[in-house]
């Protein structure tokens, strides 16, 4: 479980996160939605400890991220898997080596066991025959998928994915959504997904937090999203015609 308590973050003069509180439970796909520039990525990086927050608290279970000691921080990080918005693959390594890297670093398994695990993960994100390619040789969507494979290869307890679907075609997008949902439930991960893709929100979102200009504007489940009378959220959600139809039919 991850709990945020009045998290604030300023960069210089600009206040990017303006006091966000929420709780994210294991086994649930928690989605953070919001317009571009609303602070989703900053929130996610703050939660994993990459951006020290200006004030507030971030709890993993009962431990506050702010006063955790170095050893515990490292062992906590080993339980975190993260996909960065721009994938952040190691570009001196092949696809296979990228996914293999965490296994090599932190496990003592035999080489063939590790490779089996790597191939299993790559297959789950729908990548075959790319093992020996370098990140510069694959497409943006493929990079995303390698990033996801690398994030889940150690079966993390906390999974953070920043925009898994941007740059993916609808079919692959659904594949990735389903993968995220499946592994979250199977391994009882606490999963956080940043997205502005309403399709995947309606597909797999268990708990949705809507961020508007650095503030938590709305929070609830996906059914509530369709019936809410929160104006700002409605403007965001029903920007797509598909969902507008959906709502009209429902009403």
């Amino acid at each position: 479980m991850i709990r945020l308590q009045d998290v604030r973050k300023t960069f210089g003069q600009q206040e990017v996160l303006k006091g966000i509180s929420s709780t994210f439970h294991p086994g649930k796909v928690n989605m953070i939605i919001g317009a571009s520039g609303s602070g989703k990525s900053v929130l996610m990086k703050a939660m994993v400890g990459l951006h020290p927050i200006t004030s507030g608290h971030i709890f993993y279970g009962d431990t506050d991220l702010a006063n955790i000691n170095e050893t515990d921080r490292l062992s906590l990080r080993r339980k975190i898997g993260m996909l960065f918005q721009n994938s952040a693959l190691f570009d001196s390594m092949t696809v296979e080596e990228n996914v293999l890297f965490p296994l090599n670093m932190f496990t003592q398994e035999s080489k063939s066991q590790k490779l089996e695990r790597v191939n299993f993960c790559l297959e789950r994100v729908g990548l075959i025959n790319t093992n020996k390619k370098f990140p510069s040789e694959i497409s943006g969507g493929m990079k995303k998928r390698v990033g996801i494979a690398r994030a889940i290869v150690l079966n993390p307890a906390f999974l953070f994915v920043d925009e898994p679907n941007s740059g993916l075609d609808p079919l692959t997008s659904i594949l990735i959504d389903e993968l995220i949902k499946e592994i979250t439930e199977e391994y009882q991960m606490t999963t956080l997904v940043n997205t502005h893709d309403m399709n995947s929100v309606m597909e797999i979102g268990d708990h949705i937090v809507y961020i508007y200009k650095g503030e938590k504007c709305w929070e609830g489940d996906k059914n509530a999203i369709l019936t809410t009378d929160n104006e700002i959220l409605n403007n965001f959600v029903f920007a797509t015609n598909f969902l507008k139809d959906f709502k009209q039919r429902r009403n």
Binding site: L50, R77, R78, A88, F90, N104
Partner: protein, 247 residues
């Protein structure tokens, strides 16, 4: 300016300190060190070869030009060229060139990793990023720079002999006799201590510049320029300091 110096010096020291953690997996660090040694050592061979041979050749011709008096034996040329190769030309000039090559390479490699969030990705995995990125690079520079400088010394003297022979200024045997007559093992030791110092400076400064790159591709370029400039200045500065202290 002064606060800037203390800021960078403090951050540099802390970065080097944070490198000293138990490696998560020794084998991977070892592999990475080997990879760096190959890229750094083999990658610099050609440039070291070219500059060393020419340095030796030019020094021979110029020394001969300056020694016009018939009273001075020609063998002096050999001793001057070999001594200055060992003491100054090979270690310092080669290091300056290596600062340009290795330094900019390290700074831009690490800088790119920083701005594309690869370093963040390492940290999230629980890898000690300074240890994993800096340690192999610094260790391999500490080993390879002295080796390259040894090679450079030999090539420099070889270049001198060759130029002397080809231009008819001095016979190879006379050159070598001259070189032998003033050879001191101490000089070689001094040159090696310079080499180790320079290797450490180039690698640590360049890694530092890369590690704290902020922004994008443009800033990566700036970091790598800064890495080269600061390494060169510090090499020359410490060249002087070491000469004062030890000679």
């Amino acid at each position: 300016m002064l606060t800037g110096f203390f800021f960078h010096f403090g951050r540099y020291t802390l970065l080097l300190k944070s490198m000293w953690k138990r490696p998560e997996n020794g084998a991977i660090y070892w592999q990475e060190t080997m990879r760096q040694m190959v890229s750094l050592g083999v990658g610099s061979l050609v440039i070291v070869f070219i500059i060393s041979v020419f340095m030796g050749a030019v020094t021979t011709v110029q020394t001969a030009y300056q020694l016009v008096s018939g009273f001075i034996p020609r063998s002096i040329i050999g001793s001057i060229v070999s001594d200055s190769s060992i003491l100054e030309l090979a270690p310092t000039i080669t290091s300056l060139v290596l600062a340009g090559k290795i330094g900019s390479n390290m700074a831009s490699e690490i800088g790119t990793m920083r701005v594309t969030e690869q370093i963040d990705a390492l940290e999230i995995m629980g890898v000690n990023a300074p240890g994993y990125l800096l340690m192999p690079r610094i260790v391999s520079a500490l080993i390879m720079v002295p080796l390259l400088i040894m090679l450079s010394t030999a090539l420099c003297i070889g270049g001198g002999i060759l130029a002397g022979h080809l231009s008819g200024i001095i016979e190879s045997s006379v050159f070598i006799d001259g070189a032998r007559s003033t050879f001191k093992a101490f000089n070689v030791g001094f040159a090696m201590s310079k080499a180790i110092t320079y290797g450490f400076m180039i690698s640590s400064i360049s890694c530092y510049q890369g590690y704290y790159t902020e922004g994008g591709a443009l800033e990566v370029g700036k970091s790598s320029t800064k890495a080269v400039v600061f390494s060169c200045i510090l090499i020359l500065l410490s060249d002087y300091v070491l000469a004062q202290l030890i000679l």
